[in-house]
Symmetry: C2
Subunit: 344 residues, 2 copies
DNA sequence: TTGTAAGCGTTATCAC
DNA sequence: GTGATAACGCTTACAA
């Protein structure tokens, strides 16, 4: 004896039979209701309800050549900054009826290339890539498959790829100039790992250039590269303090490193900002809550996610969309910076 | 004039032609290489390389009735705790060749039901749901579509659903008993919003029970429900301090609320823990870094994500997997707790 | 406005 | 070991 409605996943033909129409009409009623008589649509919707019908996405994607999904390849979700952006991305996509496929590569370019291929294989209609530096095979894959994509967080210098992001170099310059204006002359930087990460590289470069522009320089032993973890931030601070002359200002590659550095200052009995100023980038809200408040360059990360989604959605809809968008960043001065100690 | 290889997305038949075999053989070579002569496999792989062939996931899913994707429905990525779990989930799935489809509902049960249906429609092979409280339509949908699923973070009291999570009630009891043992008698709780959130509800209940077990109670005006944000944590602290008699211990529903509460203590000139003890749940690493360190019940969130993935992968592979797994939680005592002030 | 029928690119069941 | 061939469930000209 067969089970009743609801116990089996119904298909389009089941709905069609129950509504006494053809499969084609059901399909239309579901995707372009205005092309079907209102009464018929109503009847079909009843049948859909009764059967608990849910369309088969793979079949739909195969026939229509549209999966209604967008892929995102990011370094990690463990860093709140990327999680924020991803959240906004997902939300915007969802509102437009698109689903997010997510993959992380943990800063490994080979993993990135592999997961990007996988997402393409899963049939994403478009792709969000984080950063501008990618394995050539990544660009090759998206291009041969004609998949709309957008690079995010940084700005593509080559001008060959659509991008939406921040000017990380300018952000570095901004923070360094702030410190220079306060009178600082002895700098250190706890940078993120720059290999394959143009965001970290650009920030460091911006800092370097600003300092050089005033006839000063960032000594090599005062620059360390660290992964984005709190303990790495602590270690980083210890390392840049090793030399005889202590820097008066420490610039950190992001807020996680900065908080780690602040924690180490506290543990080592170094008063911030009286003895040393600490600054960073990215600015999680949480950074503002801790004592002492952290001076940062703030990046509008949620806006980034939403804009990336909108850009892709526009292109999928055949509408034009700017090939390059720069989002403004903002210097947020809090109590972790001050002029250098009177007698440096 | 036609373009050469590489400019167009090749299909299985193209590979077959180039390798001088049938489509069926290519399909086998790609999915079950051991069923094909080694030399043939090699020839086919050459053709795949030459054409830059990438399988069409939708077609594959349609024919094989397997999409190699798993969906996850979570409240939000803005809370680092869920982002952590999601990261581990994605990583484990990726290692097994599965792709993650992600959706957030921001604590709205209706949105949750909708996005769950959407994920089913996208063809996920299995589903990770966060929490045990869900709209009936959610359970109905996964059941009629025979989709393996697992509830996470909390433990299902009904025993009807596979779950893997923490005993939030016991965690609440644990933290309250710690404070009781230190001599505290006047408590307050800044809880998460309990509506539709059994994690928040269970934690609060656990705290209540532990206090009641010693013949004391948590006064209604000393319990506030707040969304999981830093500012809500600050407000929450103000509110529970309104009454004449000040509590000596404030328990916060999660670490975000706790950090907010600590920030407010600092702003209001309240010394922690000399005048008041602050504790929380969840325990982001960052909490340990700030001053004063935060006493929490720590949840192994990354393990949760990995185990949820493994559970589902096992079931998809036809292997048995425990229908209910409880992960141990750990009380981490730091400097934010102390015995109550001498003269309460 | 609705129906017919030809795919969409794979996999899977057979034979060979 | 390999090759035909029929699904898989839906969309979309083209007809009616």
């Amino acid at each position: 004896m067969k089970r009743d409605t609801g116990s089996q996943a119904a298909k389009l033909s089941d709905v069609a039979r129950l509504a006494r129409v053809s499969a084609a009409t059901v399909s239309r009623a579901l995707t372009q209701p205005h092309k079907v008589k209102a009464a018929t649509v109503a009847r079909i919707q009843q049948a859909v309800q009764a059967l608990g019908y849910v369309a088969h996405g793979a079949a739909r994607a195969l026939a229509s050549r549209r999966a209604r999904t967008v892929g995102a390849v990011i370094p990690t979700l463990d860093n709140a900054i990327f999680a924020n952006t991803t959240h906004a991305l997902q939300k915007t996509l969802d509102e437009a009826g698109y689903t997010l496929l997510l993959a992380c590569h943990e800063f490994d370019p080979l993993v990135e290339a592999r997961v990007t291929r996988t997402l393409i294989e899963r049939g994403v209609d478009a792709l969000v890539l984080l950063g501008t530096t990618h394995d050539p095979s990544v660009f090759h894959a998206v291009e041969t498959h004609r998949i709309p994509y957008v690079l995010t967080w940084a700005l593509d210098a080559s001008g060959r790829h659509p991008c939406i992001g921040f000017d990380n170099r300018a952000a570095g310059t901004r923070i360094a100039e702030h410190l220079l204006d306060l009178g600082h002359r002895e700098f250190a930087m706890i940078s993120g790992v720059t290999a394959g990460n143009e965001r970290a590289r650009d920030r460091l470069q911006g800092v370097r250039e600003a300092i050089a522009a005033r006839g000063l320089w960032l000594r090599p032993q005062r620059v360390v590269e660290k992964p984005f973890t709190l303990t790495a931030g602590r270690e980083g601070l210890k390392e840049v303090l090793r030399g005889e002359a202590r820097p008066t200002a420490v610039i950190c590659g992001n807020d996680v490193l900065a908080i780690g550095a602040l924690a180490e200052c506290h543990a080592a009995g170094i008063e911030v900002p009286r003895q040393i100023s600490v600054t960073g980038f990215d600015d999680m809200e949480i950074a503002a809550m801790i004592t002492p408040g952290l001076t940062t360059v703030h990046f509008p990360t949620a806006e980034l996610g939403a804009l990336a989604a909108q850009h892709l959605l526009a292109r999928l809809a055949g509408e034009p969309s700017a090939a390059r968008t720069e989002l403004p960043v903002e210097l947020v001065v809090r109590s972790s910076t001050a002029p250098p100690p009177a007698k440096p």
